[in-house]
């Protein structure tokens, strides 16, 4: 997966979006199996397990919430036994899992600069492509700042888990206000740095390094639509 061209991975994502939007369960399952196989073969198993674990956790939580919401709306537990409702939740979960896996695989096996280069080459203006990557990179900085602020406030006696609901909400202000101030300062500094480095000065931008497509890319791109229509092909063969 690391050596695949970013365009190939973007193709997988776009196919994933189409499959999740309009394809039936058979195609969905086939494509999910394809993405899982590619991931297992193409990256470290421990990394894949981490991605799978976090994706499955989120999907399961959302599925449980959907079931609870359905029960509360219908005001009856028997709705869970209705095939249509449960099937809907299961299909929705598979769609979500498939989308999450394809995006996770893209971002964990592709360098941010490669994503920017690829998006720029397919016509996305460099500024917008770079903003997307900055936003992704900024997540880890935000998390690290949040952890630092949480530790500082905790050593000042902050307890998020104590007191009434109002007190707990108020105590979260002690985390989010410094986080917002620190983020704003950091973004301000970053904008000045980009400005002095002539960011966005010219529409034409050169690159010191560009990725090259290989035979593997051609194989994966060719396989992608085939996997989607494979259930229909299999059905026709059986008939």
């Amino acid at each position: 997966m690391y050596r695949l061209h970013p365009v190939t991975k973007v193709t997988i994502i776009l196919t994933s979006i189409v499959v999740a939007s309009i394809c039936p369960l058979a195609c969905l399952t086939a494509f999910l199996a394809f993405i899982v196989s590619l991931s297992v073969l193409g990256m470290e198993f421990t990394k894949f397990l981490k991605i799978m674990r976090s994706s499955l956790t989120l999907v399961l939580v959302l599925a449980v919430f959907s079931l609870i919401y359905g029960v509360l709306s219908a005001r009856s537990l028997s709705i869970i036994l209705e095939a249509g409702f449960t099937q809907g939740v299961i299909i929705g979960s598979i769609k979500l899992l498939q989308l999450m896996l394809s995006f996770a695989v893209l971002f964990s096996t592709t360098r941010p600069q490669s994503i920017v280069r690829t998006l720029n080459k397919v016509g996305v203006p460099y500024k917008y492509a770079y903003i997307l990557v900055l936003a992704i990179r900024y997540m880890s900085v935000l998390i690290s700042d949040f952890q630092e602020i949480y530790d500082i406030q905790a050593i000042r006696g902050l307890r998020i888990d104590a007191g009434s609901m109002l007190a707990r909400i108020r105590s979260t202000l002690s985390l989010f206000i410094p986080l917002m101030v620190a983020s704003t300062d950091r973004l301000n500094d970053m904008s000045i740095v980009l400005e002095v480095k002539c960011f966005g000065l010219s529409k034409r931008r050169s690159y010191a390094f560009t990725e090259k497509a290989s035979l593997m890319d051609a194989i994966v791109i060719a396989l992608t639509p085939l996997i989607v229509i494979s259930p229909y092909l299999a059905l026709n063969l059986v008939k």
Partner: protein
């Protein structure tokens, strides 16, 4: 537990502590003791693990192996917010902690969390703000303060509840020399009062001359290089050099003058008084030194 728990005995004990981050940086087998009422400097070059040791001390990080004791309390066994009673923490960036609408509320935040009554903390605010010369800032927004004012407010917020141990992370970072001297005066006059134990992490070598009686814990690449006192360290200049640190400027000048002016007393290096006396007599040598 009483606030003056640390009045006697060991304030901080690190027993074979190891810790590592996911990026591979590792702190290995660190052991030292800081007595109650001592001032300790955790020093070392960038990336040596100073802030990590300070955070382990504060309980923000838990050791992977070994134990950290603060006033006899194992930090692995208590929540961070419970340690707040005994520990005051002054972060390197004071803005990371500010969130209240006024300086008064910012300073009293810890006092309120640790259960001080309104009368107690109002009296303490008056006392602390007078010591730190910030009484005129109490009704201002913390975000309108200058860097120096913010650092004073940060100290006030850390000592308002009269903790036994005060931890300062890179307290003199970014300060010019005069402000550094001013900050050191504050630490000596205000923070070290009442037998508090003070621990500072810094790579600022000048602090060694400003705190000549301090305990020094020297780190390099996650390992303990030296565990002793300032005077012992300054007599072993090779330890500083081998840890990518230079001699403090006054000591380096003294050593250079000794060598250049050949004014050492036989068998030992000249004292500061002898240096001053003899360099005044040898003004031509000073001129030569300046021209070099």
């Amino acid at each position: 537990m009483p606030r003056d728990l640390c009045k006697a005995g060991d304030a901080v004990v690190f027993k074979e502590v190891s810790f590592s981050y996911s990026n591979g940086f590792t702190l290995s087998d660190i052991s030292f003791t800081i007595r109650s009422g001592e001032l300790a400097l955790i020093m070392g070059p960038n990336g040596s693990g100073k802030t990590t040791v300070l955070k382990l001390m504060a309980g923000m990080l838990k050791p992977l192996s070994g134990d950290v004791y603060l006033c006899g309390i194992n930090t692995k066994r208590v929540k961070l917010s419970e340690l707040a009673r005994y520990v005051g923490y002054v972060p390197q960036n004071p803005w990371m902690a500010f969130f209240n609408n006024t300086v008064f509320n910012e300073i009293t935040y810890v006092a309120k969390n640790t259960g001080l009554s309104k009368e107690e903390y109002e009296a303490r605010v008056l006392e602390v703000s007078t010591w730190l010369n910030i009484a005129h800032l109490l009704q201002r927004s913390p975000y309108s303060l200058s860097e120096g004012e913010a650092r004073r407010v940060s100290i006030a917020a850390a000592i308002i509840h009269d903790p036994s141990i005060v931890l300062l992370d890179e307290p003199t970072a970014g300060l010019d020399y005069l402000n550094k001297v001013d900050y050191v005066n504050i630490i000596q006059r205000v923070v070290l009062r009442r037998g508090r134990t003070v621990v500072m992490s810094s790579h600022d070598i000048d602090l060694l001359t400003m705190f000549p009686e301090a305990k020094v814990i020297l780190l390099n690449n996650g390992r303990l290089s030296f565990n002793g006192y300032t005077r012992d360290l300054l007599s072993k200049a090779h330890l500083l050099f081998s840890n990518n640190l230079l001699l403090p400027a006054p000591i380096a000048l003294s050593a250079y003058l000794n060598e250049l002016l050949d004014i050492g007393v036989e068998g030992r290096e000249a004292s500061v008084e002898e240096l001053i006396e003899k360099t005044v007599l040898r003004k031509d040598a000073i001129g030569e030194l300046i021209c070099r």
